[in-house]
């Protein structure tokens, strides 16, 4: 499969980007000497005006000799030259930055919200524009953060039945075991009492684990970037959904090669991506089925395929599934943010998601992320 051409974004820093980075870019931009386009325009016009005036003076002077005719020609050539230079300079002053801003907008639309840094030794009107764009990027990043969190909470919200079930079961076990212990306290042998207490102990732990895994997932924290083991991401996500899968008659299978390099990224956002993919897969298989996760390492990246045996996605719907707020689920079951947020998370990691679907047979999400360590055979 051909890779998309957009180069992985260099992400040495935490994402979303800390405020200091924007402030730093701003300071750097504004520290340069100010030479505005307007100032340059004024100087150019003045120069042309002076040349014109000199030409007029030499050619219109009464009693001008052949020497002054030569001078006029020189002045004309100079004037032409001045026009050429000014045109060239303006081309560089205007067209260059416009092209540069074009590349910025492309980068931003890919979800890379790093601020724009200085590109030249001086500053002008385009620097003001860069400062304004940086301010906008800061706002965009903050909104994106809120949207990611909202989408995360919604995804968890759709799991309430599973979570209630999963919590009430250990609670019920604790309740009835305690009741048995209290009712029959005199009648039970020490050994039996010990066994009942053990049940209570482990069921408490089980309930605690469920709450902990949920809290781990929903906590809003500054994502820490580093090497992430995708096996662990998939396993911890599966644990959150374990009950949903058992009750939904979904068989889960994960195939990981023994030596899978870690990817470069943040644990929680990646968990969110897989949770979204898994939840969608479960929703696509209301009668049960098989959910397969297969990982493969290729030079410089790790690719994962998440395949379900569900209803599939109709071809007319397929182009829209990553659009924000696009959903085919009934109201209350989804906001249409899951996949769009997943895509933006994956792109922030410098990766890509592709989808293949056959109605009636199932859907495969193919996801690639850059690995944390560059391959050793790199030239």
């Amino acid at each position: 499969m051909e890779e998309k051409t957009d180069s992985p974004l260099p992400i040495p820093q935490a994402s979303p980007h800390p405020v200091s980075e924007v402030a730093e870019a701003r300071r750097d931009l504004l520290a340069r000497p100010r030479i505005t386009i307007r100032m340059r325009l004024a100087v150019g016009l003045l120069l042309c005006f002076l040349l014109c005036a000199a030409y007029a003076w030499t050619s219109c002077r009464p009693g001008a000799g052949p020497a002054s005719a030569d001078l006029s020609i020189v002045l004309l050539v100079l004037l032409f030259f001045a026009f050429a230079v000014i045109t060239l300079l303006f081309d560089r002053a205007l067209i260059g930055p416009i092209r540069r801003f074009e590349t910025y907008t492309e980068r931003i639309s890919r979800g890379d919200f790093r601020p724009i840094g200085p590109a030249r030794w001086y500053r002008d009107e385009f620097t003001d524009l860069a400062v304004a764009v940086n301010r906008m990027l800061e706002e965009l990043a903050a909104q994106q953060r809120h949207m990611v969190q909202a989408a995360k909470m919604t995804t968890v919200g759709t799991l309430t039945s599973g979570i209630a079930h999963e919590l009430n079961n250990p609670l019920n076990n604790i309740a009835i075991t305690t009741e048995a212990l209290m009712e029959d306290f005199k009648r039970l042998s020490d050994e039996e009492k010990w066994r009942l207490l053990q049940d209570i102990y482990f069921e408490t732990e089980r309930a605690g684990e469920i709450v902990k895994s949920l809290l781990d997932f929903t906590r809003e924290e500054r994502a820490e970037w580093g090497p992430v083991d995708l096996r662990e991401v998939v396993e911890s996500t599966r644990r959150i959904l374990q009950n949903e899968m058992v009750l939904g008659n979904v068989v889960f299978e994960a195939r990981f090669p023994d030596a899978l390099p870690p990817v470069r990224g943040a644990l929680n956002p990646l968990r969110q991506v897989f949770l979204n993919l898994f939840v969608n897969a479960l929703h696509a298989m209301p009668e049960g089925g098989r959910l397969t996760v297969e990982a493969k390492a290729s030079p410089g990246k790790v690719c994962v395929e998440v395949t379900d045996t569900g209803s599939g996605i109709p071809p007319e719907v397929l182009p829209h599934i990553f659009d924000p707020f696009f959903t085919t689920k009934e109201p209350g079951k989804g906001t249409g943010l899951g996949l769009s947020v997943s895509l933006s998370i994956v792109r922030k990691h410098g990766g890509e998601i592709q989808v293949f679907s056959e109605p009636g047979k199932g859907t495969t999400f193919h996801l690639c992320l850059p690995s944390a360590s560059p391959p050793s055979e790199n030239p």
């Binding site: 599973g162 009430n168 079961n169 609670l171 019920n172 076990n173 009835i176 048995a180 049940d199 058992v246």
Partner: protein
Amino acid sequence: MADRKRVMVLDDEPIVGERLKPVLEREGFEVEVFTESEGALQRLAETAFSVIVTDLKMKGPSGMDILRFVKEKAPQTAVIVITGYATIETHREAEAHGALHFVAKPFKMQDLVRLVAKAAK
């Protein structure tokens, strides 16, 4: 011993059956415990029970499937549904299919035993 009434307890949580069995036996019932609905369905096909206590959400056939099966085969059997996720919809559905009681987890064992005893009369 032939007049001892049969009670089935079906829950994929083994502890539920383990705790309920001795208490119900003390009440004079003959108790059979199942943790998988497949096995329970097989047993229901061959034997009649007075009361069935079943979980709702389970791997394989659900409590609702058990309820439908029992009500078709032996309508006089009392079915008590216990569930960790009680909603108005599931409650209505269970009642529509003929469940006698709908009990949300966590429940009190004494309450449940009382319901079973009343249902067996």
